[in-house]
Amino acid sequence: MININSKILLEVHDLHATVGGIEILKGVNLTVKSGEIHAIMGLNGSGKSTFSKVLAGHPDYEITRGTLLFDGQDLSALAPEERAQAGIFLAFQYPVEIPGVANDHFLRLAYNTVQGKRGKEELDPLEFDDFVREKMKLLKMNPDFLDRSVNEGFSGGEKKRNEILQMALLEPRLALLDETDSGLDIDALRIVANGINQLSGKDNAMILVTHYQRLLDYIVPDFVHVMEAGRIIRTSGKELAQALETHGYDWIHANDQVAGAQP
């Protein structure tokens, strides 16, 4: 929801970033306030996934120009875990499988680490167990998830649900959801979207990175941005997503030409 008086959470200015010496982001500008839901759309290779990885601090990506402020603080100086502790959460497009680490152990460790850093109360295993089971109901997850290794042997839908579960536990102020809809059947999509909607509130913000409009049928964004060649080339309301779905990404350029012809 848009509220003029909300405080600015994320301020991205002229962001350039490279991976392996190749420039992917070429001047991204974006401002996100508390309570807002943004969608970043674009074709494969437009830089939208890179953008979310840069925000989360993936070590392979290097910021070469521009600023990245989160709650007024320079993000680029922070390690990935410090960003997480500060309230940035990335739901991975491809959640990593970690054989040998039990999910419940991992979730508790992440929860308590973040709670500790935020000066909040940590939970002992029993308390945490109750807490996490409550959260899992939200996502209609089977309790045996807890005993399995992190993401190992999970189906695509299970992995995505596990990501949203982590989001529910860590209570981020800014959640980046990278292609969260990919690989989900319609039922799973509904459950995941429902979970995300319940987690959305006036004190946090979300950025949905997606190729298709599908997810936006369930989560209504306040802003839709179109990314191309490492820049945001168009920003509008939720109707933009519908237009893209109907006309395809080329429509943007056709539309530009028309707009250019009639100043």
Partner: protein, 434 residues
Amino acid sequence: MNMIIKDDYLDKLIASWKKEISPVHSVSYLDQLKADALNCVESLRLPTIRDEEWRFTDISSLRATPFPRASAATLPVSDNQADTFLDEAVCKLVFIDGRYVPGLSVQTADNSITVSSLSGLTGTSSVAEQYLGRLADFQENVFVALNTALMHEGVCVIVPADVAVKVPVHILYISSRKEVTVYPRCLVVAESGASVTVIEEYVALHEGVSLTNSVTEMYLKDSARVNHIRVQRESPQAFHIANSSALVAKSAQYDSISLALGAHISRFDQKITLAGENAGCEVDGLALIAGRQLADTHTFIDHANPHCRSRQLHKCIMDDSAHGVFSGKIMVRPHAQLTDARQLNRNLLLSDRARVDTKPQLEIFADDVKCAHGATVGQLDRESLFYLQSRGLTETVARNLLTYAFGGEVISRVTVPSLRQHLEQYILARTRIS
């Protein structure tokens, strides 16, 4: 090599034993076996790094430690070993410095199996004659020869046909004093359709130099199942040399997990012969070492018959200047068609001074088989690290967690819950999770 190299070390050992051993008058199978093995010792020598099978493991420092066996004298009984006793192990046999300690041992109430110390085997000498020394080859291997010549007390587990032993048999070897050599010997016979879990555990109450030279022989008859867990937690100065052989008959299944955690130099030679059709084995190992430790594991899985299946996962985690060695051979004999063999060796180097030498080998003489092996050496996965960090874990915690998980994959296969918990705690402490 027909040249016999004079070996001072062995000569000294032999001389010291000859004083100790009273001349043999009886001609029991056991006495004859020992005499034969002693003859072999005299014609063998200690391996050096010039021997292919010992290329990476230099045991020359062993020569400085010609330790005697422990006398039967005082046996310290300690309470601080409580953590080595397992809840599930109703049946436990405790040896201190190679001597059986009845006071600490508990024989099973279940009379269906025979568990005895080797010295008690005299009553069942036919068992000894049928099995003892038949599998562990002392003709070529000097350590097996030494053990066979000098075995004094050991364990014999016989599970009759179709008996499933519910509780694990826990054999605990405690080293209480430094500068002692022990020669543990273990014989397991699982008759047709029998099943049993045997845990061999080696622990030390001191941090000095000692030497363990153990030999284990396991016979699995048709459709038998043996679950063999081996935990080596010797003193950080110790030498631990062990040989284990299993003969797996038709449709039998042998599963083993061996953990090398202690000892200055440890060497584990494991031979598994899939001798009957449809036999199978799962062979897992973990070496978790640091400081200047060396852990060497040599396995030989012999597919001698069709339709057999083997799975192997061996992992090494090396910190500081530790040195891990793995040599794993899978042999597929002619006519062992439809063999299905898979082997994976994964190594994690945590320090720039650590070193690993690995040699996974396939020798295949049959055409209709599925065999694969793989070996990796590397560090913790960057993507996994980032994933954990992005969830708020510090880099150190993330690293520790992943290191633990690397070893945890093997530990999770330990089927005895209390032992698995002990080991998880131990690994957790070793991988420094705060």
